[in-house]
Symmetry: C2
Subunit: 214 residues, 2 copies
Amino acid sequence: MKIFSKNQLQRYPIYLKFFKEVEASGQKYISSPAIASVLGYSEEQIRKDLQAVSNDAGRPKKGREVKRLIETLENFLGYSEPIKAAVVGVGHLGVALMNYPNFSDMGLAIVAGFDIDQNKIGKEVAGKHIYSTEEMEEILPKFDINIIILTTPSKCAQEVADKAIRAGALAIWNFVPAHLQIPSHIVIENVNLASSLAILSHNLNSLMRLRKSI
Amino acid sequence: MKIFSKNQLQRYPIYLKFFKEVEASGQKYISSPAIASVLGYSEEQIRKDLQAVSNDAGRPKKGREVKRLIETLENFLGYSEPIKAAVVGVGHLGVALMNYPNFSDMGLAIVAGFDIDQNKIGKEVAGKHIYSTEEMEEILPKFDINIIILTTPSKCAQEVADKAIRAGALAIWNFVPAHLQIPSHIVIENVNLASSLAILSHNLNSLMRLRKSI
DNA sequence: AGCCTTTCAGTATTTTTTTATCGATATGAA
DNA sequence: TTCATATCGATAAAAAAATACTGAAAGGCT
């Protein structure tokens, strides 16, 4: 069984996105150096990444067939059969994610929302029904929902996550800036804006220091 | 000049968040093994990370002083003097970020919004004025805004980014799933949900395959 | 007061990831 | 058809990151 590093996995959707643009432009083949010059990775890394998921050999002087690359990546990333997810915590961020237009191209289908606010329960957001958090145990199996998108306030995130796991959730996509204690058989992926911002502001500070010193 | 890897930088906000919880619980000291057991990193890594930003030595049998750790990290991450940012593209996601309650604790102050929609221009969102994208060149310097939070539709992202850079933006926090071509003197940090989702669904698939094989 | 244990700092090792090298080969031009 | 070359695949080298190890010291316990 091949092992993919986190960094490597993160690159595949970026390749795919780019290949779709290339295809849209009418180009049939793309070479590693050409990809490298646009995406900013080294051409060796691109070869390694693509070789890891594809059986097709690239052709000298031409590169790889864009159409096949797209098929391969979409298949590898599981975009062919979308996974079902529900948003828990229909606040500003939850609503934004429910309306996010790109998930359908990313193999994700949000099919429901959950909240504790009586004013929201029973309403619809982006065409999806909002249920009470109490109903998770019933609704998740019913709609075959495996992934919980967690967008509650920080203070109730752990409690809600526990509840979701009891209700059968297999994976949690956590947008809450809190460290959840999760059993090891549950998949968790944290979207930590503070971490992303830390990189940004560190780089920005380096830049400013550089400028000042010149 | 010390160099910090991306992974390492991402961990600091996570440490900080945890230390604040520890402080709130009344605990005065925290040891690396104790941090490790909660956050799931190795204690060696934690020592290395903390030694890289702190001059204070930890004390055998006690660990490090929580209060000092918090000060040190807040200072390192630049939370003491927030950087100013503006959201460009006041759609669902833009609105969500403008309302995001945690940025003020993360050294970021969103002070304005920009959009091209006449219905939005002149309005307020989360107490911040929405300007026309055309006004960026005037408004960014006026409010001393260095960071652009990009949440436009994909198709106009590049164009808007170019405009923001002309208007003096130094850094772009890009929430748009598109690869921007950015001059090397501008800082860019991509929040790529597709990449995050790729990790999640890869792990979920591995889990399911494992289950099936048992 | 002395001993045992925990944790530390610093260094070494291992592992992982990225980058570089090299011969082979298909392509497009002469 | 032949030649020059861009690109490939595979492997090797380098760099970076994570992990493990070691001796020292502080804290608490008897």
